[in-house]
Amino acid sequence: MHALTYERRRLIGVRSSWLVPLVVLGASAAVAVLTLGQGAVAGAPAADPLRVLTAGLPLLPLPIAALGAGVLGALSAGHEFRHPAPLVLLRPLRRRLALLLAKLVTVGAFAVLLGVGTLVVDAVVLHLGRHAAAVRLETAALHGHVPTALGGYLALVVAGGWIGLLGAVLLRSAAAGMLVLITVPVLIEPVASALLGSAAVSGGGKQGALHWHRLFPVDGTHAWLYGALSGLHSGTAVSDAGLAVAVAAPVLVLLLAYLVLLPRRSAL
């Protein structure tokens, strides 16, 4: 079984894998333009160039690209349940594992491409809209000083894709996968703050601490706007490593839960 080839052909063959990136790119460009305009109206340098680049929207629990990647991951898994043509082929466990791995790789690669794509589109918007800020960022990038936030952004997009995929494969439906995608970030914040709160008291060290809103640049001054929908407005301070754990933990938890279930299932 050539799982990667299968997954690649599957992804290319359905319309959703073309529609989702188009919608994501369009939406993030629109949000970037709106963010720029908002900054101009306010008359203040409010629009953080990073926020423009990542097209952060306060109302959403995750960046638009991460949501798109998650939707695609969920559809990728849901496809095997809606149209279970290779059910008989997937009887052996190693094949199901291979297929899961192929899906993770494909969705991951797709998510990276999607993240980079949105960054490029938004960079163009920024370049056209606010030349000065753009040039400063660009020269920094040319000298190898890419803001950490962009790395975090890409990681978040990939994690979003995987959460969607694993949620859908765990619950055997694309819709369920999308629900998990939206729920997980909301759940993460209280859990992380509970864990890190106790750790911070004992450790006490806040060197190199980052704020959520600095890494995933959404507006930190209007926390009420995100309401319960977002886990990203917290004032909790986390280190880089802590943040990586926060992003990777839900993926790992879902993956482990699924790997426990996989041998007991007859299909994916």
């Binding site: 799982a3 359905v14 496809h79 809606r82 043509a85 008989v88 082929l89 009887r91």
Partner: protein
Amino acid sequence: MAQTVQAQTQTDPDVPDRQVRQVHHPFQAIGLTKAGRRGRAAALLDLSFDARAGQVTALLGPEGSGRTTALRLALGLEHGQGTALFHGRPYRRLSRPEREVGVVLGEADQPAGHPGRRARAHLRMMAAAAGVAARRADQLLEQTRLGPAAEHRLRTYSPGMNRRLQLAQALLGDPSTLLLDEPTEGLSPKNVEWFHAFLRAFAAGGGAVLVTLRSPQQAAQLADRVVTLELGRLLADQPVEEFSRTRLRDEVSVRGPQVARLADLLSAAGATVRHEGGNVISVEGLARTEIGELAFRHGILLHELADRVVEHAPTPGPRPPEPSGASLAKATVALGPGETVTTQVIVPTPPTPGTHVLPARRAARVLHPLFFGEDLDEDD
């Protein structure tokens, strides 16, 4: 699997030759059993048969007789008892199942995959899943006569095309055994004919075909061996000649205003005549031409004179060697009180055809007591 391993280890080490020479059939079902849900009768009870290379084996039975369950059990898609061996190994132990067994399950009116995908893309994707080159997919599209429609989306496919695409999908790994679940159900006569020709050619090439069917007529046309199921029990496992001799009859259906008179004449000529109600009779034992001549000679007007093949009630027939007696005995026992009708179906009455007949026949039977009733009324 555990059972077979045990059996192999238990065999005498002195006679390894026999072990080696033992022929494994491409498909062998041993005691497939599926318990019924919530105390109902078993969906499938102790079904054993095999499908041989170079033959088409039909698993025949009405709806709900457990044919699909048998296939799904054999493939390990459902949990149950018993085992099915493909060349001596259960399906889950096959290292490359698609190279040995091709499977067509599912419905003809459902697309073979995502409805928005094009047929060629779909089959190439499945080729990757089966681990074969994309070239093989194109080749199979031509072979199943889907070449001209290869770039169409699956949602535009007709049931016949769906079925052929599913067949192409099953053939990707170039298997030696084909398992098909009602491949010709709901297809046009032309497609049915194509399917029959294809399956016969596949068997002629040395492959084994196991196909579930609903219609005895089709089984007689297609199969070399017919395994008959009824309510999850094995009724008969016969070569097709025996099947058509014991289970099918040639009848002539005659319609006309004066069939009553013709019926008397035909009975006098030695034919068996059955009234179908109205002005239709069914004649057995005389050819169509002879009936026509007889009618003409006596000046009887006919409106219809047609050959047809009718299903007999299952006669006991020869049973497959080991499990049959037991299974049938169990069958009669398992049918408890309250299921007297089905019990009558199971218990075969050799001389007269039983209750499992076409509806028209049953209607004729039901009429009998009514006639008595009328007689009584007249007496009153």
